[in-house]
């Protein structure tokens, strides 16, 4: 019994406009995939470098459709009890303690131990009911009455076994809890999985998903994003900043600055009331973009024009050359 697939979107442009209304600039591809995910009722696997708005896409879709966002952050050793459900032992224990007298009543009149156990067994359902069930993100998403967006973040960090388990849940959106029975989704959540591609995901999982690769945006796109999110930054300064970030990405750094870091940097520049990207300002704020000492040293060397004759130096002159 598959849940109804609700058609949330009418057309691709509608998705695009809707995302823009919640401050997310989606290109045709992103909007198209979101639309298809809704129409085909398939999960979307989003890959790409860190900080390019993979998680944000799921959040924005939730915001746009007014759905509840349920997030499952993956990590090594994540298992069913943390992802799906767990019995709340402590609460069961507490209830047993408090209900001790009542239990005594129930068991009154039994003569042998096996008699008592039999009678207790008939009351078992009380202790294994949804009352004592601690729902984790996956069960919450399946059990929810309102529309939900389920975000499974950084799936590549979870173990392969968990992936196999997830596959099962995502294919028919129902879970079986031995003590209670099968719970099916009342409405089909939109599912997003993100991956930073630190390991190969299984073919089976990929087969079930739609796929989109979100790369670093082009200079123009990133500029649009900066201007949308940090409107206080002057246009010319924003352009300089984005161009510098792009030239950094072309360097062989240990960690490339992400879009979110560009935004942080833009905010920092606004806070510092920077008027231009002079070496001093860059020097003072560089650590917003670069998170490794080795990278900072390399970039500093590049900005001072030492040993940076292979195109990085040129970017530097452009920055200085601007008024």
């Amino acid at each position: 019994m598959a849940a109804e697939v609700a058609n949330r979107f009418e057309s691709v442009p509608e998705v695009r406009e809707g995302l823009k209304a919640v401050n997310y600039l989606a290109d045709e591809g992103i909007a198209g995939v979101a639309y298809l995910a809704d129409r085909l009722g398939k999960p979307v696997l989003i890959e790409g470098p860190a900080g390019t708005g993979k998680t944000q896409l799921a959040k924005s879709i939730a915001e746009m459709t007014g759905a509840r966002l349920i997030r499952l952050q993956c990590y090594e050793g994540l298992d069913e009890s943390k992802a799906l459900y767990e019995w709340e032992y402590a609460k069961q224990m507490l209830y047993t303690q408090l209900l001790r007298d009542k239990l005594g009543d129930v068991l009154a009149g039994t003569h042998s131990l096996s008699d008592a156990a039999d009678r207790l067994a008939t009351e078992e359902d009380v202790f294994f009911s949804e009352r004592f069930l601690l729902a984790r993100p996956l069960l919450r998403a399946i059990n929810s009455d309102e529309p939900t967006v389920l975000l499974i973040d950084e799936i590549d960090r979870a173990d392969a076994e968990f992936e196999a388990f997830l596959l099962e849940v995502l294919s028919d959106f129902q879970v079986t809890i031995p003590e209670i029975g099968t719970i099916s989704a009342r409405q089909h959540p939109v599912v997003f999985l993100t991956s930073n591609n630190t390991r190969e995901l299984s073919e089976a999982l990929k087969r079930r998903c739609l796929y989109i690769y979100i790369d670093y945006p082009s200079t123009e796109e990133e500029l649009n994003i900066v201007q949308l999110k940090v409107p206080d930054l002057s246009a010319s300064l924003a352009r300089q900043a984005v161009e510098l970030v792009h030239s950094l990405r072309r360097m062989d750094l240990k960690k490339n600055p992400s879009v979110s870091e560009t935004l942080d940097w833009a905010r920092a520049l606004v806070t510092l009331n920077a008027r231009s990207l002079d070496p001093e300002t860059v020097e003072n704020t560089m650590t917003v973009l670069l998170k490794y000492e080795a990278d900072v040293v390399r970039v500093r060397r590049m900005l001072q024009g030492v040993g940076g004759g292979d195109g990085y130096g040129r970017a530097h002159h452009e920055i200085r050359g601007r008024p």
């Binding site: 591809g29 298809l36 979307v44 050793g77 990929k206 087969r207 080795a294």
Partner: protein
């Protein structure tokens, strides 16, 4: 259209993109929702359903235009709304003038699409078999045009219009003919180019199978057979590899509980059950080796050493403490270089200390030097890694020092890039060293090296 899509999927598969049956089915469903009218959206529908791997995206982007081309306007019938008399007049004039351009005029003035066979024949004549890359599509389209005598067309058309005017055809009708024929010419030109592109594309699908080897293949390839470009590719791979090794290590950590109850932690965890021990907590051992590495940096060993250093660099957090020594004919401590520089830079700095030259590798002498100066680096917790081919150029192998090293350290792991069959041949003393080591690995390629490093972290 359906046939196109089926062929396109086949071409993707031939080019090495894994497309399952379920996925091509999804593609059909996606197209049903997205439609085929908006070409860009159609492309995204296919892309999201067929390609599930970032490495497949460039292949998709290259093949797509070959199969679905640019939107081409269909050819129009220029004789629309002409009377039978006028049609006959036109036919007569065409027959009089056409000559070599018969076929071309026929297409343009009757608004008839060239058939697949006609196009194929034309492409064959243009010698399209010899094309090797889709970037040549335009050139072959030109050739096909020449075969149709395209260059004479303009002149001939002028003559045709004059002739028709002379014969008293309505000037308005002539104008209509002119405009439509011009549009048809444009359309035909595009069709030719697209056809050439597709033909070449289908031809080169087989070529794709000879495309550069995948990262997996490179991992299995011996270090000395890698070229510069492949080395660079693999270096990027090292990062992912390191992440995988790290999660192995974490799993081992999780499972590597040594069985002793951790009373403190168990009591704390079970307070919420009223002190009834429902969850047991065990002591975990931190599995982080303390390393002393002895690296052969002679020319033949450079690649494997560099990759080893990249792996160590990425896995710093998994190692408690490391001291590193490089040797060729003598020993230099290089811990400082490795701590402050990136592996490729460190390698350069090491080479300036130990410049490769015509002198001989001498592990024995280097061992003696180690014994004299750095024996303090070794204690019973240390794992000693030797990365070398065990060739001493017939010098003293210093086996007594080596076995002393084995006694004092926790274990010795030797990683050797040579085949075991080569050990002990010529000036190799490997067979004498091997029994003194706890573990010996062959590390001819990155896959083997990664497996050896994994074992090294396993303690």
């Amino acid at each position: 259209m359906e046939e196109r899509i089926t062929k396109f999927v086949a071409a993707l598969r031939a080019a090495g993109v894994r497309v399952s049956l379920a996925e091509s089915e999804d593609a059909w469903r996606a197209i049903r929702h997205m439609g085929v009218m908006d070409r860009n959206r159609f492309r995204w529908a296919l892309r999201a359903t067929l390609v599930k791997d970032a490495s497949g995206l460039p292949i998709f982007e290259e093949l797509f235009p070959l199969y679905f081309g640019v939107d081409q306007p269909p050819m129009m019938d220029p004789q629309d709304g002409m009377s039978q008399e006028e049609r006959d007049m036109l036919q007569q004039a065409m027959d009089d003038l056409a000559g070599e351009l018969q076929q071309l005029l026929n297409w343009l003035l009757n608004g008839r699409q060239p058939s697949q066979e006609e196009l194929e024949e034309l492409a064959q004549q243009a010698g399209i078999d010899r094309a090797t890359s889709t970037s040549q599509a335009e050139r072959y389209a030109r050739r096909m045009q020449r075969l149709l005598h395209w260059e004479q067309l303009q002149e001939l058309l002028e003559l045709l219009w004059e002739l028709l005017a002379e014969q008293g055809m309505d000037p308005e009708k002539i104008q209509q003919l002119k405009e439509r024929v011009a549009q048809n010419m444009e359309a035909l030109e595009k069709q030719l180019e697209q056809f050439a592109g597709q033909a070449i594309g289908e031809q080169t699908v087989e070529e794709y199978q000879k495309r550069p080897p995948s990262v997996d293949e490179l991992m299995e390839r011996p270090f000395e057979l890698l070229n510069e470009e492949e080395m660079r590719l693999l270096r990027d791979e090292v990062r992912r590899l390191a992440a995988r090794l790290r999660s192995h290590a974490a799993l081992r950590q999780k499972r590597g509980q040594d069985g002793r109850l951790d009373a403190k932690s168990t009591i704390r965890a079970n307070l919420r059950y009223g002190g009834v021990p429902m969850e047991l907590h065990y002591r975990t051992r931190r599995l982080r080796p303390k390393l002393v590495t002895l690296l052969d940096v002679s020319t033949s060993m450079r690649q494997v050493t560099e990759f080893f250093l990249w792996l160590l660099y990425e896995l710093q957090d998994q190692i408690q403490k490391a001291r590193s020594f490089a040797y060729i004919d003598h020993l230099e401590e290089v811990s400082q270089d490795l701590a402050t520089l990136r592996p490729d830079e460190a390698m350069q700095s090491i080479t300036t200390k130990l410049p490769p030259g015509h002198y001989n590798t001498d592990f024995g002498a280097s061992l003696r030097e180690f014994e004299a100066e750095h024996m303090d680096a070794i204690d019973f917790r240390t794992t000693v890694i030797v990365l070398g081919d065990g060739r001493n150029n017939l010098q003293d192998p210093a086996l007594d020092t080596f076995s002393d090293l084995g006694r004092r350290s926790r274990r010795i792991i030797w990683m050797n890039p040579e085949y075991p069959a080569q050990w002990g041949t010529g000036d190799s003393d490997m067979l004498e060293y091997a029994p003194l080591c706890n573990e010996v690995y062959q590390v001819r390629n990155l896959a083997q090296l990664a497996a050896a490093v994994d074992r090294m972290l396993a303690d």
